[in-house]
Symmetry: C2
Subunit: 362 residues, 2 copies
């Protein structure tokens, strides 16, 4: 692989996690931006199928057999036949940062026609602080050409460490099935040139399509739940992770940014299939959201793991009445943390043995 | 005045309030957008000075003598030699909506080069709901081409009534004196094509330069405090109004939007003069912000007036220790409400006698 100058940001500190069921031709378009980085491919569905990865990418690939082999009985917490399986990639990564992207997402262009290096923008978002305690009307005050406006308390201008960078989508917006059905032709053409912090105490719908985070700060909260095969819902994997992550970030004093970068989302998924996956979630979320809005984590919870285990208890206590599914989910949350800690024995796991993937360097 | 087709939005339901000490030549540039509306000009400083208003505008003008005559002893709550005097215009307006703008603000252009009708955008913001309870990652879901994204609870999609529309500024950003001094050449050139709701529970720095609100929903909270002549601070008038307004909107279930429209802010005020006005506020706000962050209004407060009087009590009780100024300010908050109610005897004050301005229709 030819050297690139200047060295790409965080080249040795970031993994790109891609869940997929098909050949990864979409990487061709991302080559100029992704090739310097290491990829973790989580193959969903039939493990006997061979996924082709374009030449020249450095990757490891895990299929269901690998997941079962590596996690043993704990593999039950990793979803099957649902892109929620991607969170296995977060767990086996040994890097400080993770960027995850769907294989139907392509390089978008900014209004000047320039191709957007989404990963670079995510890294910039993660490496600069967030401002969760007070809203800045000129958006991200750390961006070039911007600052804190008059009336912004000086004591809050240091900001908080950024744990999550949530990117957006041009073309096909991330709508639920009912909205897809009602507005089949709506396309997102509005490029909003902003990055902002989601304020403390406010929940948001986190989409997993174009997402980056700091594994060391928030990794164990990025569990994408039980979805797909054998489960009563789908398409709530990233939402679940987003709600859990937000309340834990709020508790731990970490920030979540949303806005730039955009990717080009190429194809709308089938709204009828989506409706089948979503309908219970659409109903349940009317109780899930108030639950997360009132969650209080005790002061004693000072690590993400502690927060997450406490959250699993509250989920079991308060959401099991909505549906028995939440008892199972609460148990899976505990299993997830056990598996995470097993694969990441210390906070700084850089020296740990690799998890023996299916495939090596290309 | 020649008729305009189509009829401008809310032509008979909105007043434009302008505080000034100079001839209003800036209105020439706004003529295509403002001429159909009624102006309320609040003349600050020497009342013997004549302010020239360009031909063809329909306006009423109040100078200090008018304010003293109309309010009597209660005129003490209206600031002198500070643009905070503008809130007198909110009080004497008989319309449902108010738009206020500074006389150093001009028509901005969008990235396509088209002149921005700021007033029209404010009206659109005010006439569509806000979403204070959950963050929508594609920003204002009521805008054309946008909607609520996957994971947004359906029960919250009706939104909340919008009480305030906070517009932004291209060219000279609204920075405090220290930031002006540090970055004298910084200009805001970033056009962010978004309108969003400030989430419930989050404070923001409300700038009075380019601001619209629903008088019926929130008018009595839009008091710009005691600033300028005889007072220890300046340049915190709009901030004060913003903090009070936000906690009251949160309590009453009303929304505040920020973002579009932009105006072109032409000239930076003198940072040395600003520093003199601001320095106590910069210090005090470190205690004021935590105060507003913890304010709880009792359920019994169901009108803006009740909320505001309760807030004045809490200001007196909790901020007077910061400086005796806050005792005076708390008293002025009460006087303001008394004066407001005197001039606006019923909620629907359309039939009330006009306040006898200095000048009539042009």
């Amino acid at each position: 692989m030819a050297g690139v100058a200047p060295t790409p940001l965080l080249k040795d500190e970031l993994d790109i996690v891609i869940p997929t069921i098909r050949n990864l031709d979409f990487l061709e378009m991302w080559r100029p931006f992704f090739q310097p980085y290491h990829l973790i491919i989580v193959q969903d569905g039939d493990p006997s199928k061979t996924i082709k990865v374009p030449e020249g990418f450095d990757y490891e690939l895990y299929n269901r057999n690998d997941i079962n082999r590596i996690l043993g009985p704990k593999a039950s917490c990793i979803s099957f036949k649902d892109s929620a399986c991607r969170c296995f990639g977060y767990m086996v990564s040994k890097k400080k940062y993770v960027f995850t992207i769907d294989d139907d997402c392509f390089v978008a262009k900014d209004p000047s026609g320039k191709e957007i290096n989404a990963l670079k923008q995510h890294i910039e978002n993660l490496l600069s602080p967030s401002t969760p305690y007070f809203f800045n009307t000129l958006y991200d005050p750390y961006r070039e050409g911007a600052d804190f406006v008059r009336g912004y308390p000086f004591s809050l201008r240091e900001g908080a460490p950024t744990a999550v960078s949530h990117g957006l989508w041009l073309n096909i917006p991330d709508y639920d099935a009912p909205t897809q059905l009602v507005k089949p032709r709506e396309r997102n053409t509005r490029y909003v040139d902003a990055v902002m912090t989601i304020p403390k105490g406010t929940l948001f719908p986190m989409c997993g399509m174009n997402l980056a985070f700091d594994r060391e700060l928030i990794g164990p909260a990025m569990y994408f739940g039980l979805m797909g095969d054998g489960q009563p819902i789908g398409r709530y994997d990233d939402m679940w992770a987003g709600w859990c992550t937000k309340v834990i970030c709020d508790h731990l004093g970490l920030g979540i940014k949303t806005g730039l970068p955009y990717i080009w989302h190429s194809k709308a998924s089938n709204p009828f299939v989506n409706l089948k996956k979503e309908y219970k979630g659409i109903y349940w979320q009317e109780e899930i959201i108030p639950f997360f809005q009132q969650v209080v984590l005790p002061k004693e919870c000072t690590t993400v793991q502690q927060c997450y285990l406490e959250l699993s208890k509250q989920v079991k206590a308060k959401l099991s009445g909505v549906d028995p599914y939440f008892t199972k989910l609460a148990d899976a949350m505990v299993t997830w943390i056990e598996a995470w800690d097993e694969l990441n024995p210390s906070g700084a796991a850089a020296a740990a043995a690799p998890a023996k993937p299916n495939n090596g360097k290309a």
